[in-house]
Amino acid sequence: MLEAYLPICLLLLVALGVAALMAGISEWIGPRRPNPRKLIPYESGMDPVGTARERYSVQFYLIAMLFIVFDVEVVLLYPWAVQVVELGWPVFWAVVLFLVVVMIGDWYCYKKGVFDWDREARQPRPPSEALSQEKALPVRETVET
């Protein structure tokens, strides 16, 4: 059975080789004329302030953690998925229950505002009131020039 994976190993090797070749050739035949200006990281033509190696917003990491939590749960379902009918109703209801729990987790995260990236960016918006024509058109008489 494992023999079936041989072509895949070959493919991975070839793919890696092709990638290395592509990167290698351009490094080899391309010109090299570095100068200090050129080597500064791009920041819209201005000097970068500090490096990009600083501490970063925690929200990205939260997403990464959620991914691990939920994706592992999804992976658990694969063995069931190939044998839905054979495993029968009890397992089906167990899976449904499991998914309900997962969904509650998602709902909890939603309520906690994990997916709410613009919580602080949102601004109140004045109501849109229908403008009457008189209000929309300014009064000419009010100012003298």
Partner: protein, 332 residues
């Protein structure tokens, strides 16, 4: 396994690689032609007849460009990142059935393999963003990693619903299970979810936030030049082709020829295989067109919209779809 039995596989491997690279290159060409057509322009038409040699010219140009790595970059990762992207893209073709019995490796966990390999792509992008040590690149890389992993869950669930229907993880059997009726008709919601997540996974508009050129200049590949930039470019288009191929395999009957059971059995074997390959690439081509078409019409999502769509709408919807599909499977 003896070498003799491996020989046809090697031939197939070479052919598949060639086909993939050509398709990726010509997807770039067609993208430019189709976008030109949408925008009332002409598009590339100078190199060769109808500009058909344009991809070749592009590659040659990129090869002869200066390869700049910023001084503050992490040299090793900076070099490695585009290679990971290309490798991950190329490796996906291993389990795609081009025709009956025409598959590189018909492994019993084909679908899992596809999911695993495509998620490697996130490393290429995140590492490139981090290694460049440029803030635009970093923002692009972070956005990208958050986006790719967010949509992977919904994608996994959509794939799961297909697995429930065909009761197999083998790509060839998933295709064969659609002989009577394509999965898109039995599982339309799953198809929609998969299509949306496929857009997100390939970083195409409206999900191209990681490289939103108006916001982040070029996103994660801001600091890449020469062929290394070209590699990200190639990887993106390969992913477009491969996503289309996976959509075809999972939902549109793969290599199965529409109404094939009416006439296919009378044909000689070579003709059958030929027709099946044609059918596979035809369907794939159609989805590549959809990818291009959407890209040139729709504005881009905002970050919070993207996250909300992924976690608050798609994820529960995908779970619901899975339960419904399983229920239908149990009942009928």
């Amino acid at each position: 396994m003896a070498f003799e039995s491996l020989q046809p596989k090697l031939l197939l491997l070479a052919a598949a690689l060639l086909a993939l690279f050509t398709m990726a290159a010509y997807t770039v060409y067609f993208e430019r032609r189709i976008s030109a057509w949408i925008q009332n322009r002409i598009g590339p038409n100078r190199v060769g007849p109808f500009g058909l040699l344009q991809p070749l010219a592009d590659v040659l140009k990129l090869l002869f460009k200066e390869d700049i790595a910023p001084a503050a970059a992490d040299r090793l990762l900076h070099r490695l990142a585009p290679m990971i992207s290309v490798t991950a893209a190329v490796a996906t073709i291993g389990v795609l059935p081009f025709a009956h019995n025409l598959i590189l490796a018909d492994v019993n966990i084909g679908i899992l393999y596809i999911l695993a390999i495509t998620s490697l792509n996130v490393y290429g992008i995140t590492l490139s963003g981090w290694a460049s040590n440029s803030k635009y690149a970093l923002l692009g890389g972070l956005r990208s990693s958050a986006q790719l992993i967010s949509y992977e869950i919904a994608m996994g669930l959509a794939v799961l619903s297909v697995v429930v229907q065909s009761e197999s993880l083998m790509t060839s059997q998933i295709v064969e299970a659609q002989a009577e009726i394509w999965n898109v008709l039995r599982n339309p919601l799953g198809f929609l979810i998969f299509l949306i997540t496929a857009f997100a996974e390939t970083n195409r508009l409206p999900f191209d936030l990681p490289e939103a050129e108006q916001e982040l200049v070029a996103g994660y590949h801001t600091e890449y030049s020469s062929m290394k930039f070209g590699m990200f470019y190639v990887a993106e288009y390969m992913n477009v082709v491969l996503s289309s191929a996976v959509i075809t395999t999972l939902f549109f009957g793969g290599y199965l020829v529409p109404f094939g059971h009416l006439f296919m059995s009378d044909l000689p074997a070579w003709a059958r295989t030929g027709l099946e390959v044609l059918s596979f690439f035809g369907k794939t081509g159609f989805f590549v067109f959809v990818f291009i078409w959407v890209r040139w019409t729709i504005p881009r999502f905002k970050y919070n919209q993207l996250m909300r769509l992924g976690w608050v709408y798609l994820f529960p919807l995908a779970v619901l779809n899975l339960v419904l599909v399983a229920l239908a499977r149990m009942l009928f």
